[in-house]
């Protein structure tokens, strides 16, 4: 009897949790897309104060890019059986994350110093709100990094599927907020 039945079946080519993270990133992108398009619409309406983006924003881009590199190297260390590289670079990444936040704060201070405060003009308000909300997302990433760090130092070193997944999700999110910042900075630079 010839009967056609479903044969080949491999579940979960990508882990559902990881996929859920991608979907969540898409919705975060939409939120920032809303801000940047509101920026464009508001800018074209006039009464718009032009000013230079603080230099620290550009310096800070290097910091966050570097942190992406160190986290990725830490992930390699984790996978390839190098606990020292894994733990060491995780610490470095976390420090770079904090450095990014501190430098963003300094950048805002430098804006205040040239007379651009939150309420001065919508052009400045947008920069504060967008970079501030991005910093909040970095803070979420730092939370994930701290958990990863606790795992790295408390648990016995071993490469399991569960721990690999967790690390990969942290890594994905960290790369995501990094890319998000690059998009935002490019946007600010090209719009002004």
């Amino acid at each position: 009897m010839e009967i056609a039945v479903a044969k080949e079946y491999r579940r979960n080519k990508i882990h559902p949790k990881k996929f859920a993270l991608y979907v969540a990133c898409a919705s975060i992108v939409m939120m920032f897309a809303a801000f940047t398009s509101a920026y464009i619409v508001r800018q074209s309406a006039g009464n718009w104060l032009e000013f230079r983006m603080p230099t620290l924003f550009y310096v800070n881009t290097l910091v966050i890019l570097l942190s992406s590199v160190t986290l990725h190297a830490s992930y390699w260390g984790f996978k390839k059986g190098n606990p020292l590289l894994y733990k060491g670079l995780l610490v470095v990444t976390l420090l770079l994350g904090f450095a990014f936040l501190a430098l963003q704060y300094e950048a805002w201070q430098s804006l205040v110093a040239i007379g651009i405060e939150l309420t001065t003009n919508p052009s400045g308000s947008f920069v504060y709100v967008i970079s501030g909300l991005h910093a909040a997302h970095i803070l979420g990433g730092i939370g994930a990094l701290i958990i990863a760090l606790i795992h790295a130092f408390v648990l016995k070193y071993q490469v399991t599927e569960g721990r690999k997944l967790r690390f990969e999700m942290t890594l994905t999110y960290w790369h995501f907020v990094d890319l998000l910042w690059i998009y935002l900075l490019l946007f600010f630079t090209l719009q002004s």
Partner: protein
């Protein structure tokens, strides 16, 4: 493969054998013996992670809000229909919002009238027709119809409900503020929403309103992430995308729309909150209020409208698409015919979803946007009529020459098609920016969106509840009461909203407290009374539904056959007992699409039945 079950056995036993022979063994019950998720009262009924229980939670909460929202509409309809009558008898319920004059007549407070209108819109749009509809049926049907044990993340799913509950609790609390709940309309346009001193409800009421909706968005996003992930990653063996029932397609696309549009609302709210609290000027231009000039400079209230409607328009499809999916499924099952144009249905859902993102400014034709830009939005708005008409045609073609079972569920599905046509046609009027000059913000708009997305979505919801009630509670709702409910609601809904078209064409503006000052509208008094009486009668018919619903949970006719509607989809291959993990053994393997009705002389062929030797698969 040799001992494949023969055709002669009773169908439930045959299905079980097919699942056992061909199904996919994920060893679920090896890991979940004596399930920790349903071990006590709290994990079973309150903080449940079982998608079927979460669906019930969404449904009952949605019903609670539907009653509150409907009662609010009755109060403001009394004001609109009978402005001269004393409302003193409402004093015990509404307290200070009924103002008693010296001669003892009670009048509804004007501030509270606006609060009622605002709350009615917010509650119905978000809490009932988004959470109550999508939350209920996505949660119930996605795992069941796809052959999954549960959602991708049961934990996020549980959190999704509890964020919704929290949003509801905050909104409910705002009803009892001494200054009243927010009263600036459900669209929350600035400056009414941005200036705490703009009106009574703009203070604490607006703060709680925003807080509530932010939690609501969190709920929608958590739910949506789960729905999308589950549909893409948790389908059982053989369940290709093109074998999914249309319900799942609708829920899936709905979740995508929600996920892309709700974050934009959060952005708008964040900017609004900064304007309110920290003195920024995103939406506030130079304003002189209460005898003093404010510091705000150069903001644009229109910017808020853009951001709001970028969510707001997709939101109406978030409401209607799940109802469309349910109706497609119910019509096919109860007319014993395959759905007409399955792929056309899917593509039109996708087309509607895509177009929903590029038509938002048709809500803003009268806000002073450039008329040339309006043309763009007119064209895309009118193009939505194409996929909508495809769907309507397919529903009618599905019914055509069908062997239709007229029960409460199928009647509501047919009623949905009627409502969708009536309301959709007036959408073509409103989509024209020239006609909109006359019709904007009149009762014509009220009639349009209530019929096409309010009543129609309710009809889809009712069709779904009557159809899947056995899957929720293992019992049936009373069908006679269901039919009475249907006819009362159908006639009642048209009695309420049809006359509003005439009000609107004459230019009667919506949201007004009273028309005493407009001599031109005086001859509509009788019509307004008619609408109000219609609303009260229609509400009375909903009480029949609520009684039927709760009575049937405990006393309804028990389910003895696990596939009472003779449907093909996977949820009817699960045991009547509705166990955690859905299937007692292996997961079913899907062998065919979901709409094999009346094929090769058989009434129906379930999805687990392999394609026979002389049979061709339908695509």
């Amino acid at each position: 493969m040799a001992n494949i079950a023969t055709q002669s056995q009773p169908e439930a036993i045959r299905e079980d054998m097919l699942i056992e022979e061909l199904g996919f063994d994920d060893h679920f019950h090896d890991h979940h013996h004596g399930d920790k998720y349903q071990s006590n009262f709290i994990t079973t009924y309150i903080f449940s992670q079982d998608h079927k229980m979460i669906a019930k939670q969404f449904l009952i909460t949605g019903m609670f809000w539907a009653v509150i929202g409907a009662l609010m509409s009755l109060v403001f309809r009394l004001q609109l229909g009978f402005p001269e009558e004393s409302l003193a008898w409402l004093k015990p319920v509404l307290g200070k919002w009924i103002e008693i004059s010296a001669d003892g007549t009670g009048v509804l407070s004007q501030d509270f009238y606006y609060a009622l209108v605002t709350m009615h819109g917010t509650i119905l749009v978000f809490f009932v027709l988004t959470a109550g509809l999508s939350g209920t049926f996505s949660n119930l049907l996605i795992p069941l119809q796809l052959g999954a044990r549960d959602m991708a993340s049961p934990l996020l799913n549980m959190m999704s409900y509890w964020f919704f509950f929290l949003a509801g609790a905050i909104m409910f609390a705002s009803l009892f503020l001494s200054t009243g709940p927010f009263s600036g309309g459900w669209v929350a346009y600035p400056p009414l929403s941005a200036l705490p001193q703009a009106s009574q409800g703009s203070g604490a009421g607006m703060t709680l309103w925003t807080l509530s909706l932010v939690f609501f968005v969190v709920s929608v996003l958590l739910g949506g992430i789960n729905y999308i992930t589950t549909v893409l990653n948790m389908r059982t063996k053989g369940m290709s995308m093109w074998r999914m029932p249309l319900t799942i397609w609708a829920f899936f696309i709905t979740a995508i729309i929600g996920l892309l549009s709700f974050p934009v609302l959060v952005s708008a709210f964040l900017l609004l909150m900064l304007d309110r609290g920290l003195g920024t000027s995103f939406f506030l231009s130079e304003i002189y209020i209460g005898g003093q000039a404010l510091d705000h400079v150069g903001g644009s209230p229109i910017l808020f409208q853009h951001l709001f409607w970028f969510l707001g328009h997709p939101e109406v499809y978030i409401i209607i698409l799940p109802a469309m999916g349910i109706v497609s499924e119910v019509l096919s099952v109860h007319s014993r015919k395959p759905i007409f144009g399955y792929k056309a249905m899917v593509y039109s859902i996708m087309a509607i979803a895509f177009l929903s993102f590029i038509v938002w400014a048709h809500h803003m034709f009268m806000s002073g946007v450039n008329p040339f830009i309006s043309n763009f939005f007119v064209i895309f708005t009118l193009i939505i009529a194409v996929p909508s008409a495809v769907k309507v045609f397919n529903w009618i073609a599905t019914l055509y020459k069908g062997n239709i079972r007229f029960n409460a569920s199928s009647l509501f599905a047919i009623g949905f098609v009627s409502m969708f046509i009536s309301g959709g046609l007036t959408g073509i009027f409103l989509g024209n920016s020239a006609l909109d000059i006359q019709l904007h913000d009149t009762y014509f708009v009220v009639a349009h969106f209530h019929i096409v997305m309010g009543v129609a979505a309710f009809f889809g919801m009712f069709a779904g509840i009557y159809n899947w009630f056995p899957k929720l509670y293992g019992r049936f709702m009373n069908d006679t009461l269901g039919k009475i409910h249907f006819w009362g609601t159908l006639v009642g809904a048209y009695a309420i909203f049809w006359p509003m078209h005439y009000l609107g064409m004459a230019g009667v503006p919506r949201r007004y407290y009273s028309f005493d000052a407009f001599q031109a509208f005086a001859h509509f008094d009788g019509m307004n009374q008619f609408i109000t009486i219609g609303a009260i009668v229609t509400f009375a018919f909903q009480i029949i539904f609520i009684v039927n619903f709760f009575y049937s949970i405990w006393k309804g006719k028990e389910m003895t056959d696990r596939n009472p509607w003779k449907a093909t989809t996977l949820e009817w291959t699960t045991p009547i007992e509705r166990i955690h993990g859905n299937w007692p053994g292996k997961l079913p393997a899907v062998q065919r699409w979901a709409y094999d009705y009346g094929k090769d002389g058989k009434d129906f062929i379930t999805q687990v039945e392999p394609i026979g030797p002389d049979e061709k698969e339908v695509h």
